[in-house]
């Protein structure tokens, strides 16, 4: 069957299960956009290509499928870069299709020519420059396979305009041939035996659940393993939802803004079981004194992550679900009542300091608003966030029961992620309640996508936590720069009017007693809705592990305030 390159692209993408793409047309991808009209694919016209990449990312994280972003050459493609890097750091499977100038013009600084494969080389799992139509089918097949398998990640395909137009024989490749790409599945038996022995000897074990638990589809296996060995489970930011938050073995989030009792448990453990995580500096604190008495077992599909930051005693390179299935028969039932009781005491102390235990002082605090959204949505909405203080509070006060409910930019910490990722997540689950919690800073970075949400009728609820500050930077300046505030105060526009200008119903809230009604207003509004919460300006996220400090050397919320009597 003879087809144009652009048609071959869509033939292949439809076969990969693509039914929605997020993009922006331009000179170098016009044949692709023309051919698209003949295929059963819904195109979402974004307002900036960064939004397209984040939407594809949000779609991928909410659905577990590959998200697709499209852009033209030059500035269109470079606008994707932040979104691609975000997907790379968080192992999110997206495929980006960019147009490129004619092959014979490459290298000649043609109009809107940029070396996109060169630019994205370090921030993609793999990328391709396609100069001929007959390369497209194989490349698209490989790209989707690479994006979603092993440790997932972004793949970019840069397609020259002539390759889109020229015709070639089309045959869908049934198999991919990638001799150099063989993600490990099973771990060696000897290492499994050694791990089982350590688990049998441990008295104070802690499981560290990372994003790999969700990617591998191993949440049920982790739960079974935790219950069998009575090992409590601490989660990374992206691992939240690995174990239901309400599970008695759940310790919540670890790390820089993790639960204090969770960090203390890790530092006092005698065995750490790292499941699909990479010991990022935000979860370890000072590496030299990280869990000093713990032996460490690391299950991870990317061998380059093992022994990268933390030296481990047993490395099990493989797919988490597969490795746990192999490990489970070798492990016996354990009881750790004394250890769990000890953690319970630390937990009680943490709860006493928690802002939720404070008496109502008439001020609006982000943790309270987040908790109210959690209650109103029964904790079952898909929640995306932007980056900063509100993100950490969302992680702390919107506990989730299932994987893929909490979607956030972890490794990259990309401001502007919240709104577009919510739109992407809504396309993955249009019947589900989708909220995004954003700050006044990050929201403005991709605010233009409000218009996309309206055009698509995306039923997303936007909660802006407005403190007229870049809150997290302000907090660091407060703690570590003697409160010398530099470039963190931000005058914001009237977000309610901005929403209304887009045709989005909106409200502003500045009193605690208005919160519940505003959340209900947003929930009852068909389509997008926005609520701006005028929150306490100089509140800090606690606890906090300062950079370079040991994991249990946290700045805690002052107990004095927490102990104020209720009146």
């Amino acid at each position: 069957m003879i087809k144009a390159g652009a048609e071959i692209l869509w033939e292949c993408m439809v076969r990969e299960g693509v039914d929605v793409v997020f993009g922006y047309p331009g000179g170098a991808n016009m044949p692709i956009y023309d051919a698209m009209l003949s295929y059963p694919v819904h195109h979402v016209l974004v307002r900036h290509e960064q939004g397209a990449a984040h939407m594809a990312d949000g779609y991928a994280r909410a659905s577990g499928k590959v998200g697709v972003a499209m852009a033209t050459s030059g500035p269109g493609a470079t606008n994707l870069v932040t979104g691609i890097a975000t997907a790379m750091l968080d192992s999110s499977p997206i495929v980006c299709i960019t147009g490129q100038v004619h092959a014979h013009l490459i290298g000649g600084d043609a109009f809107q020519e940029t070396d996109v494969t060169g630019i994205t080389l370090p921030i993609t799992k793999h990328n391709y420059l396609v100069t001929r139509a007959d390369e497209i089918a194989e490349v698209v097949r490989e790209a989707f396979y690479i994006a979603r398998s092993g440790r997932p990640g972004p793949v970019l395909i840069d397609i020259c305009k002539n390759a889109q137009i020229e015709k070639a024989e089309f045959a869908y490749p049934e198999k991919v041939s990638l001799p150099g790409y063989r993600p490990p599945a099973h771990a060696p038996q000897a290492a499994l035996q050694k791990a089982a022995e350590m688990i049998a000897q441990a008295e104070r074990p802690v499981i560290l659940a990372g994003h790999g638990v969700k990617i591998s589809g191993a949440a049920a296996d982790v739960r079974q393993f935790a219950e069998k060995t009575q090992a409590p489970v601490a989660s990374t930011l992206l691992g939240l939802g690995s174990l239901p938050a309400s599970h008695p073995l759940n310790l919540g989030m670890m790390g820089m803004h993790g639960e204090a009792f969770c960090n203390i448990a890790i530092q006092n453990a005698d065995l750490l079981l790292a499941f699909g995580m990479r010991f990022d500096d935000r979860v370890t604190g000072n590496l030299r004194n990280y869990a000093p008495r713990a032996r460490k077992i690391h299950i991870e599909i990317d061998p380059s992550e093992i022994n990268k930051n933390v030296s481990v005693d047993v490395s099990l390179a493989g797919d988490l679900k597969t490795v746990l299935a192999d490990l489970n028969p070798l492990v016996g039932e354990r009881q750790h009542a004394a250890w769990l009781a000890e953690i319970g005491e630390w937990q009680a102390e943490s709860q006493e300091r928690d802002i939720q235990s404070w008496p109502d002082d008439g001020k609006l605090y982000v943790p309270h608003v987040v908790r109210d959204i959690w209650q109103a949505t029964s904790g079952d909405a898909i929640l995306t966030t932007d980056v900063g203080q509100h993100q950490m509070w969302a992680a702390q006060y919107y506990p989730v029961e299932l994987p893929y409910r909490f979607i956030t930019s972890g490794g990259s910490g990309t401001m502007g992620f919240g709104v577009p990722s919510a739109i992407g997540a809504w396309f993955a689950h249009p019947g589900r309640e989708v909220w995004t919690i954003v700050g006044d800073g990050g929201f403005q970075m991709t605010q233009a996508e409000l218009s996309t949400a309206v055009q698509e009728g995306a039923n997303i609820k936007i909660a802006i936590m407005n403190n007229n500050f870049l809150g997290m930077v302000r907090q660091w300046q407060e703690f570590f720069f003697e409160r010398r505030y530099s470039a963190v105060e931000m005058r914001t526009p009237d977000f309610v009017k901005i929403a209304e200008a887009h045709g989005i119903p909106a409200r502003r809230v500045d009193q605690p007693d208005q919160v519940a009604a505003a959340i209900e207003f947003a929930r009852q509004t068909p389509g997008p809705a926005l609520v701006e919460f005028m929150v306490e300006k100089e509140e800090a996220v606690y606890p906090m592990v300062p950079t370079g400090a040991d994991l249990d050397e946290m700045i805690r919320r002052p107990l004095r305030q927490a102990a104020l009597p209720a009146d």
Partner: protein
């Protein structure tokens, strides 16, 4: 100590760039990198020498595997292997000094491959140590120019050669 890695990569445009970009991004400082053809036109072969005190060879190996176009990586440092480096050294030599250069060259089984009025070019093949030794002896005469290929390596015998078989790599040895 120095570690020698052999990498088999797909012979495609841009693969060398991917490897070089990886080393830069991960801050891997390498001693030498040699790329060339193999018996299979679809596969190129790289010999990479790293100083293990500067960067762990194990990390270089694990990260090379992440590149889709890298088929196989093997650390042959502790394996029986033949390693060779080739150098061309242009030495200042008046007609009276030529005999001295020629003598040194013959001791090292090196060759004089060009003679000009005031200089000669010496070609030497061997291990890095051997080349360094000759270089030290030639320096007093005046080394005008030098070029080296970087180390290449091949396993001895037909035992644990570089593995072409998918799945036979070292993913799970770590």
């Amino acid at each position: 100590m120095q570690h020698t890695l052999i990498a088999l990569v797909e012979n495609k445009p841009g693969v060398l760039n991917r490897v070089a970009s990886l080393f830069r991004r991960r801050n891997f400082n390498i001693e030498s990198l040699n790329v060339g053809q193999t018996e299979d036109p679809n596969i190129s072969r790289m010999t990479i020498v790293v100083d293990n005190e500067m960067v762990e060879a194990r990390k270089v190996e694990a990260n090379l595997y992440k590149l889709i176009n890298v088929i196989d990586v093997q650390d042959v440092t502790h394996q029986p292997a033949v390693t060779r480096d080739l150098a061309l050294i242009k030495v200042k030599a008046s007609p009276e000094e030529r005999a001295e250069v020629s003598n040194l060259a013959s001791i090292f089984r090196a060759k004089i491959v060009d003679v000009a009025a005031d200089s000669v070019i010496v070609e030497i093949t061997g291990t890095e140590d051997k080349i360094e030794s000759l270089l030290e002896l030639l320096k007093p005469l005046g080394v005008m120019e030098m070029v080296r290929t970087g180390q290449v390596a091949m396993m001895r015998g037909n035992g644990l050669g570089v593995r072409h078989t998918p799945g036979a790599n070292g993913h799970n040895r770590m």
